[in-house]
Amino acid sequence: MTPLAKMLWRDLWHLRGQVLAVALVVASGVAAQVTMRSAYISLQAAQTNYYSGYRFADVFAHLKRAPESLAGEIRALPGVAQVRTRVVADVTLDVPGLAEPASGRLVSIPEHQANMLNDLFLRRGRYIEASHPDEVLVSEVFAQANKLDVGDRLGAILNGRWRELTVVGIALSPEYIYEVGQGMLFPDNKRFGVLWMGREALASAYSMQGAFNDVSLTLAKGADEAEVITRLDQLLLRYGGLSAYGRKDQLSNRFLSDELGEIEISATYIPAIFLGVAIFLIYIVLSRLVVMQRMQIALLKAFGYSNAIIGLHYLKFAVLTVLAGLLPGLLFGLYLGEKTNNLYAEYFHFPQMPLVISPGVIFWPVLVSLVAACAGAIGAVRRVTALQPAEAMRPEAPALFRSGIMERSGIARWLPTSVRMIVRNLARKPWKALLSVLGIGVAVGIMMVARFLLDAVDHMMDVQFNLVQRDDVTVLFHDPRAASAAYEIRQLPGVLRAEPFRAVPVRLRHQYRSKQIEVTGLSPDSQLRQIVDSRLHTVEVPPDGLLLTKKLAQILGVMTGDTVTLEVLEGARQVREVTVAGLSDEFIGIGAYMNAQALARLLREDNLISGAYLSVDPAHADQLYALLKRMPAVGGVAIRSALMRSVRDIVDRAFTTVSMIEMLFAAIIVGGVVYNSVRIALSERGNELASLRVLGFTQREVLVLLLGEQAALTLCAIPVGLALGYGMCALLVPAFDRELFRLPLVFSQMTFIYPAIATLISAILSALLVARRIRQLDLIAVLKTRE
C-alpha cells in the first residue's frame, strides 16, 4: 500500500463518525431510489407482460343489447384487430360466512377454453364445463378475502332468480388487476368480486342468447384509438351503447397507471433530495479535512507530489465515503423493493409479480452517487490544488470576524456574549448556515409530506363517510323502478329511513368536450346524502338545473350559468339542454346532481327511482342483509361501515408503513446534517472551547456554546421546513387532481408537531453523540497549540 493510500484509510477511520453519517444519508437516498425504481420496473414489467400475454383489450364498450352479428361489423371497422363480445351482469351475491350481501360482476367466458381477449389466468382448479351451467371461476382476491376455494358454493340473483353457483376455479384477469367496483377508490375485496361464467349459461339467465351487452377490442397497428371509438359509438348507438373508452379510462388500468406515475415522480425527487444533502455533507467534511491537513498537503507538494495525485487522494476520500453508503443502500433498497413489491401485490393482482432488477436499478444509483461524491469533493480538491506549498506550511490565518449589522445597530449590546458568538459564527459562513437550514428543512418537509398524505386520506374519508355519505346502506336496483318501490324498502326490517334516488347514465357535452357520467336525482329534503363545498358547507341541490362537482365542470370547461347538452344513455335516449346551476366540491370521483323532480321533468318520466339510501337500525342489520341478498330487484348493496373498515385497513397497512420509512429516512438526513455540522464546529473551535474550559467554564457552558449554533440552525430549519413541507404538499395537490380523487390540502396539528419533534429528537441525539467529546477536550494541549 502506498503511503497516500495508508493515509486515506487512516483519515477515513479517524473521521469514521462523519463518514458514517454521510454514508447513512447516501444509503437512504440509494435505498429510496432502488426501492422505488425496482418497484416501478417490476410493476411496469408485470403490467406489460400480463397485458400482452393475456391480450388485454384496447377499447371497451357497454351497451344494452346487440345481436351477435354486430360483432362482425365491429370487426370490419377500420383499425380494429380483434373483437370479443360478452354478456356482463352485476349481481348481488350471498357469500357463505358473510352477513352482508356482496356485489359481483358476472362476466361471460366461452364454454370451451380458448385464447381470447382479456384472457384468464387460472390459478387453481379447472375451467368451467359446458354441461354444468352453474360453474363459475372466481377472482383470486375475492376468493382469498372470503376464504372461498374450489368446490365452494355461493348464492347469486341472476335476473331476478336465485341461483347457487359452484366455484370450480380461481382466476385472474388483466381487466381486474385492481379490483374495485365502479366509483370506489379502494378495493373492498370481501364485498366486490368478479366471477366468470359460461356464455350460454349467463346469456340464458339474462335472455341474451345470440346477443351481447359488452364488447372489447384490440386496435390494429397504427390505428387511431379516438377514431375507432367514434365509429364504435356510432355503431352501438341504436343498441343502447354507453360511450366506448380506451385503456386510459379503463378503471383497473387507470389506477395502475396513476400508481406508476406516482412512483416515477417519487423515484426521482426523493433520491435527489438525499443526494443533494450528501453532496453538501461531503463538501463540508472534506473542506474541513483539507484545512486540518494544510501542512500535510504542503509537505506532499514540497516532496514533489503533483496536484493531480493529491487532488485524487481527496476525491478518493469522497468516493469511498459514498461507496460505504452505496453498498448497504443497494442491499437495503433491494430488500425494501421486495417488500414494496409484495405490498403492491396485495392491491394489484398479477399471475406473477417477481421483483425485477434491471441493470439500470443498480447502475443509476451507483452513477448518481459517484457523481454526488465528485460534486461534493470538487470544492475541496480545488482548494488543495490552489494551495502553494510555502503558504500552506504556515498555519491558516485566524478566523476573520468584522463588525456587522448587529454591532453597528447596537443590538449586540443587548445580547448575551454567547448569543453574539453564535450569531457571528453563523454570519461568517452564511451559505453553510443556509444550506444546513435547507438540508434539515427539506427533511422536515419530507416528514410533513408523509404525514400530510395520511391527513388528506383521513379527511377525504371523514368528509365522504360522515358528511356526504350518511346512509348506512345504499341499495341499487337493476332497473329503474316506480317510486312505490321505496315504500317496499321502507317496510324491510331495520330500515329507519329510506330516501329514494334516481341515477341516469348520461353524456354531458359542452362545445367539443364531453364526459360520460351518472346524473343523480336527489330529493330536496335528502338527509342521508349531502353535497358539500370546499369549506364543507352543505350545498342545496338547486330546484332546477345541474349541480356539478368542480372537477367535472373543469373537464367540461363550464361555469355556473353555462348550458350543457345532456344525452341520456338509456331508454329513449333523449337529448336535452340543461343549465349548470351550481358547483360542489367533492374529493372522491366526479358527479352531477339534480333535483329529483326536475330530473323527472327533464326526462319526462314518472318519478322513477334507481335505488335508495337507507338508515338502518344496527340491531336488525343482519336480518336486512339476509333479505337484500335474495331480493331480485336489487342489483347492488353498499354498506358504509364495511367500506370504512376496509379503507381504514388499507390506509393503515400501506400508507403507515411507507410513511414510517419516509420519516426514518428524513430523520437520517437531520442526524447526518446535525452530526457533521457539530463535529466540524468542534474541530474548528475545539481550541477555543478548550481555552474556555481552562478559564473555568464548565462542560455545560462550553456545550451550550458549541451546540447553540446548531440549535439555532435546527430551530430555524423547523419553521422553514414546515413552510417547505406546506409548499411540497401544495404542489402535490394539483398533481393528485384526478377524476378518481383529489387530495384536500388539509393538515392535522400532528402533521406540524410530529416532524418538529422528530427533527428535534434526531438533532439532539446526534448532538449528544458529539457532546461526549467535550469531555475529551485536551485542556493541556490547548495551552501549547496554535490555532
Binding site: A397, P398, A399, L400, F401, R402, S403, E407, P416, T417, R420, M421, R424, N425, R428, N687, E688, S691, L692, R693, V694, L695, G696, F697, T698, Q699, E701, L779, I780, V782, L783, K784, T785, R786, E787
Partner: protein
Amino acid sequence: MRVTPVSPARSTCVLALITDRGMFMPPDHEHSTEDFSHDSTESVFHVHRVNKIYRMGEVEVHALRNVTVDLLQGEFAVLLGTSGSGKSTLLNILGGLDRPTSGEVYYRDHDLTRADDESLTRFRREHVGFVFQFYNLIPSLTALENVALVTEIAENPLDPAQTLELVGLGGRHDHFPSQLSGGEQQRVAIARAVAKRPDVLLCDEPTGALDYATGKLVLEVLERVNRELGTITAVITHNAAIAGMADRVIRISSGAIVEVRQNEARLAPSEIAW
C-alpha cells in the same frame, strides 16, 4: 513563591533534599524548620512531594519528581526550564488542569489532589487566570467581549473596559482578534485573565510567540498587574532573561527543581534584554 529552603546561597544543597525521594527530610528537619520561619508572607499554594508520571503507550514519562514548592501571596515567580523540563506540568497542576500521580497540592485549604473535575473547574473559575502562549482569544468576540466573557461568570470582577485600559488597549474595545497584532492579542488575553481578580495568574510562555519589543510590552503589563493588583504571578519561560524581573526564580530540569533563587531586586522589564 518559595521553595524550601529559600536562601539562594543554600539552594544547591537543598536540591537533593527536595528532589531525591530517599533523602527527603520531614518538616522538623533543621532546614525545613528554618524555611517555614524564614518568611512571614502567607503561603497560598503548597506543593508537597509531587510526582507526575505520564503513560505514553508503553513508555512511562516521569514528568515531575518529588517536587515541593510554595507560592506566596503577591509574589512574581519565574519558572525557568528548557522544553520538556516539566515546568508546564507543574503549571498545569497548580492551575487545576491536571492532578499529580502522588504527593499533595493545596490551594489555601482546598485539596487539589483529590478534587474532582467539577471542583477543579470551579477552582479555575474562581481563583486562576491563565495566559496562553498563543493567546487563545475567541475569534468571534471583540477585545472587550473576550474580557467580558470571563467577567460574566466571575463573582467580583473588574470592569472589562477598565481592565483593557490597564493593559493599554483602551482604544481597541471593538476590535476582533483578527484585527489585532500579536502583542495586542496577548494583552487582551492578560486583561481577560486578570479581569475576574484571580488570586494567581499563570502564564505559559506569554512572550513565546511575540517579537522582542512586543514581548517586553507584554512583560510590562504582567509586571504592572502584579504590582498594582497584587496577583501572584507565575510565568513559565525558557527565556532566562525574563528571570530578572521575578521575586524568585525556580529552575526546573528533568522534572526536578534544580535551583531556587531569590532576586535581591526585581528588574523592570525595560531593564532586561535578550
